[in-house]
Amino acid sequence: MSDPVEVKTLIIDGQEVSALRGQTILEVARENDINIPTLCHLEGLSDVGACRLCLVEIKGSNKLLPACVATVFEGMEVSTNTERLQKHRRMILEMLFAERNHICAVCVSNGYCELQAMGQEQGLTHIRLPYRNPALTVDASHERFTVDHNRCILCMRCVRVCAEIEGAHVWDVMGRGIDSIVITDLHDEWGSSTCTRCGKCVQVCPTGALFDKSKIGSDHPKYPDFLPNLKLMREAQ
């Protein structure tokens, strides 16, 4: 890129903000306390633009852009919370809740779930879509952790943290479309996989899909905030 100007100025929701060249809209918005909802994004991991909750409107374009990967340009005017976006966000959340078996009352992550919190934040009061009620499995073969596919939203944070941070690449995705599930190794049981038992995937999982066996029946908050610091420390080495 031959663009010599390092600093850009742009407008997000009417607020003038500055940004570095190459920064994403999401980064700049969060620096300025402007809330853009996200589920698949996690600071410290690469972005995939999969959950589509961070879609924003750019003036002059009819296309909606994912704020987590769209980079800033000079004079850009971004709207993060229009009626059109709210409508899509609620529909996306409805799709997520209806896709698998999300029953908060019996979930280990009840009260600490990012999906649950997002539903509340976006004012989701009921689901109009038919529940799909798929028959999914639970893999409790691992000595410390369990994966419950009923609660997975396929954000792929576990896949990314395992490959990018732990360097083990035990997690991946199998199948296509609505039948996709996360798997360990080549669809081996988690317990007999090459898992290093680091537990990073459990900490970054936004729902109760991955959980610590010792926390069943008790509060199960997760702590994904170690990532940005870990990344910083590694970069410093």
Binding site: R52, R84, I92, M95, R128, I153, V173, R176, G177
Partner: protein, 546 residues
């Protein structure tokens, strides 16, 4: 290899062919081959040997009207025989020099008269496994001309001037794409050919790869010269084994002739092509998913920008075009951009190959100048709807396209006109439907296709298409409500606007276009529990299209 050497080869092929009094061309494309054209060819060879006549029996690519296959064309008279089998071989050979066989002859003059063949000019005339046959039809002349006489910018200018737009579906101006890749910085660049044709009812690219593989390779070599690449990939779906075999042969022959490899034509330009096989995922026709698949990763799309033109294969600038787009390049470079721009309509230049299928008399492959009216394709080229039924709609663009109702047959076929009508040009599938088709069921079929082919990465496409399928199934079963219809429209809007890649963004099109033109059918299903076409079974919920 020089232009003179090419001309020498062409001359010798022509001299060789002139030794024969007659040429009997047998179509060996999939439709004809599945009806025994290989046995037919063997029988013809035997009959020729027995008769003592000097006859060249040649296997060729697709001749077009597949529903009349197996097809045989006798040259120089250009007599076309349809529905030929091995039992007819002796009669055909003995009729050479005399009167043609009336019983086998087919009258498809109207079918061919409206067509203009650019991409398919050699299909049905050359042996796809012989490079010399291609060279004798001006093959590789454009490449040699470009290498000897034109600058890379000159080639791009010619493509820009031609007004060619991407034939894979998007209709992005090809010249603009080429100049973007040419200007992108980087010492390594790639040229990729998308042969992952996956639309139901589409087989244009397969026929081009099987019938005239060198045309695609020459187009890619020209593209590589223009943008400064030295490595190319052809991504072909593994469901096309014949295309893969023909391309492999073609690449080997082109290398042997020095038309691929290092220092082509004694210049500093080097270029070679590798074939990569798709593993059966429709989504790998999407460019970023295709790139991921070539790199050996799971075929899922990535958000754009960055576009492949800037950061594609292994992060390098990558030019990605469809098979048919590359097939147009050599004639444009040979004949000039203006020649191409003279064909077609104002903003859609040239010709387009369509795979005409469904409830139509002449199913098969056609190539028409853009701007042609839909009724000309259906009534004249296609021979109308058979069996006394009436035309109801035409589905274009595959699962990303829409249905155009029968009263819009005056529409000229172009990227913009189809878009305005709620459909798309797509890669060129054209499915004709008559009054026995239920439009709700058609919409459900295409949504089911998108649901099973969604990669599952983004939620609107993954769950949205599944939800749409559930609602459409309810409507087809007679258990749908007006609230379901409203919800369906909301879903369409979110899936269209919020999905990550083209697959999801266009998946609602079949539903939206049938809702636009055939809304009364939906209402009939919901309110009166009646399927006007008599397709959906209302009493007991059953899988109709299973």
């Amino acid at each position: 290899m020089t232009i003179e050497e090419l001309e020498q080869i062409a001359e010798s092929v022509k001299a060789e062919n002139a030794k024969f009094d007659y040429e009997v061309n047998v179509c060996m494309d999939l439709a004809c081959a599945s009806q025994g054209s290989e046995k037919l060819r063997e029988a013809l060879v035997k009959a020729v040997e027995a008769s003592g006549k000097t006859v060249l029996v040649r296997r060729t690519g697709c001749m077009g009207p597949c529903s009349s296959g197996p097809l045989v064309r006798v040259d120089p008279e250009e007599t076309l025989y349809s529905h030929v089998n091995a039992g007819h071989a002796e009669a055909i050979v003995s009729s050479l020099g005399g009167e043609p066989i009336q019983a086998l002859q087919c009258d498809l003059n109207e079918h061919f008269d409206k067509q203009v063949r650019v991409v398919l000019e050699n299909a049905g005339h050359i042996d796809p496994e012989k490079i010399d046959d291609y060279i004798s039809c001006d093959g590789y002349k454009a490449l040699m001309m470009a290498l000897m006489e034109m600058t890379p910018n000159g080639v791009i200018h010619r493509i820009t001037e031609s007004g060619l737009r991407g034939r894979g579906g998007g209709g992005y101006p090809t010249g603009l794409k080429w100049s973007t890749v040419a200007k992108a910085s980087g010492d390594i660049k790639y040229v990729v050919c998308n042969g992952d044709e996956g639309d139901p009812g589409a087989f244009m690219d397969r026929s081009v790869m099987e019938g005239d593989p060198h045309r695609v390779i020459e187009g890619m070599a020209l593209a590589a010269y223009a943008v400064g690449a030295s490595k190319g990939f052809i991504y072909v779906r593994a469901e096309y084994p014949v295309a893969v075999a023909r391309l492999t042969t073609a690449l080997r022959e082109a290398r042997r002739r020095g038309l691929l490899g290092s220092n082509i034509g004694g210049t500093t330009f080097s270029f070679d092509v590798e074939i990569r096989l798709g593993a059966g995922a429709f989504v790998c026709g999407e460019e970023t998913a295709l790139i991921a698949s070539i790199e050996g990763r799971r075929g899922t799309p990535k958000p754009r920008p960055p576009y492949p033109a800037v950061s594609g294969l292994w992060g390098k600038p990558t030019l990605l075009n469809n098979v048919e787009t590359y097939a147009n390049i050599a004639p444009i470079v040979r004949n000039g951009g203006k020649w191409f721009a003279n064909m077609g309509s104002e903003r859609s230049k040239g010709t387009k190959v369509f795979a005409l299928t469904g409830k139509i008399a002449n199913t098969g492959l056609i190539e028409v100048p853009l701007g042609i009216k839909l009724w000309e394709i259906i009534d004249v080229i296609g021979g109308g709807v058979p069996g006394g039924h009436t035309l109801k709609a035409i589905q274009t663009g595959g699962p990303s396209g829409g249905c155009i109702p029968a009263d819009m047959m005056g529409l000229g076929v172009s990227y913009d006109a189809l878009m305005a009508a709620g459909s798309i040009m797509g890669s060129g599938g054209m499915i004709v439907m008559d009054d026995t088709s239920c439009m709700v069921n058609v919409a459900r079929f295409f949504i089911e296709f998108c649901m099973t082919e969604s990669c599952g990465k983004c939620i609107p496409c993954r769950a949205g298409t599944a939800q749409m399928h559930t609602l459409l199934t309810r409507i087809c079963d007679g258990t749908g409500t007006m609230e379901d219809l409203e919800l369906l429209e909301d879903l369409c809007s979110t899936v269209k606007e919020a999905s990550l890649c083209g697959l999801g963004q266009t998946a609602p099109n079949p539903v939206l276009s049938t809702l636009k033109y055939f809304r009364n059918e939906y209402i009939e299903h919901i309110v009166h529990k009646r399927c006007p076409a008599g397709v959906c079974n209302m009493e007991v919920p059953v899988e109709v299209l299973a």
